[in-house]
């Protein structure tokens, strides 16, 4: 039993379970599923600076921070107790493409050659980790949600605005991965 849990979960198991987060949060406390708001609440706690977007009673939204703390713990539990001992299997074309950029160690869930403290000191690392993170934070708040708030919660409640946002997430991702990222990786 535990052995089969340790394997990567197929989409038809994981996807429906993720979908069930929507009714779960609604039923246990009338909460709309969404993660990117937690970044806004953290700004409101740490550096509100009289900015209207961060001037509100964040204590009412504390559930969201408890929820993301749970996600972090969930990550730790998965790695400590449910980790897959086998190396990750990736598409051969991706493996070949990455090898052109010198990314040859395909292990874990993130390429260590791109995401590590030593990589952070390179131009490539700064663009990928610092600039990439900045775009996640700026973009999600500007769009009013992320993959969870728009693509899952918003689409579940049949919001046209969430469909528009999701399409733009995908278009942005396709442009970056296929047209811009090759340049960044070859730096």
């Amino acid at each position: 039993m535990l052995e089969s849990i340790k394997h990567p979960w197929p989409w038809y198991i994981a996807g429906p379970l993720i979908g069930l987060m929507v009714p779960l949060l609604l039923i246990i406390g009338n909460k709309s599923f969404g993660i990117s708001s937690s970044l806004q609440h953290l700004c409101a706690i740490c550096v509100p600076a009289n900015i209207p977007l961060f001037s509100y009673d964040w204590k009412k939204e504390i559930w969201n921070l408890v929820f993301v703390a749970g996600i972090l713990l969930g990550g730790t539990i998965s790695i400590q107790f449910l980790a897959d001992p086998h190396p990750i299997i990736i598409h051969q074309a991706l493996r070949t493409e990455l090898s052109h950029y010198g990314v040859t160690e395909i292990s874990g869930l993130l390429p260590n050659q791109l995401f590590s403290w030593s990589a952070l000191l390179t131009l490539k690392g700064i663009i990928m980790m610092v600039f990439g993170g900045f775009m996640i934070g700026f973009g999600t708040r500007y769009a009013g949600g992320c993959t969870s708030g728009h693509s899952i919660m918003g689409l579940s409640t049949l919001q046209w605005s969430s469909l528009l946002a999701t399409c733009c997430f995908m278009v942005g991702g396709f442009i970056m991965a296929n047209l811009i990222l090759p340049f960044i990786l070859s730096l």
Partner: protein
Amino acid sequence: MQTKETHTDFKVRSLDTIGTNESVLKHKWYHNLKYLMAGILFGILLVKSEIVSWYRIQEMFRLQSFHMYGVIGSAVMVGIVSVWMIKKFKIKTIYGEPIAFHPKPFSQGQIYGGLLFGFGWAITGACPGPLFAQIGMGATVIVVTFLSAMAGTWVYGLLREKLPH
């Protein structure tokens, strides 16, 4: 002119999460533990389905794998059916409150912000949820990405009045 300004401001503000999820019920602190449990469950799902993997995100945007499309598509299907059932059978929360849904109004931010987030998603291989899960997995350097995301949110707050919505 005055009314137009007020209207724009309302439209911008209603995009925020401020004021949503409000409940008249007051609960003791330990009621938040249920959100911790839900978060742990979601974190495990993110890791075990490999949504937190940079490689899976690259495969998605290169159309090399169906996995991510399957995960998101089936999650949305289950979400739609769940929300439909909650509305149809007027299901209440465990505290007996009626369940409320908050519409997300249209904004140009969904285009500009959406594209920007798409760029960030494809570079880092992470959306906000996986950032937390990756840190929990021991990828400590992702703290930098996370702090940058906080900085991005903050700068958006600073510039919001000047941006098209």
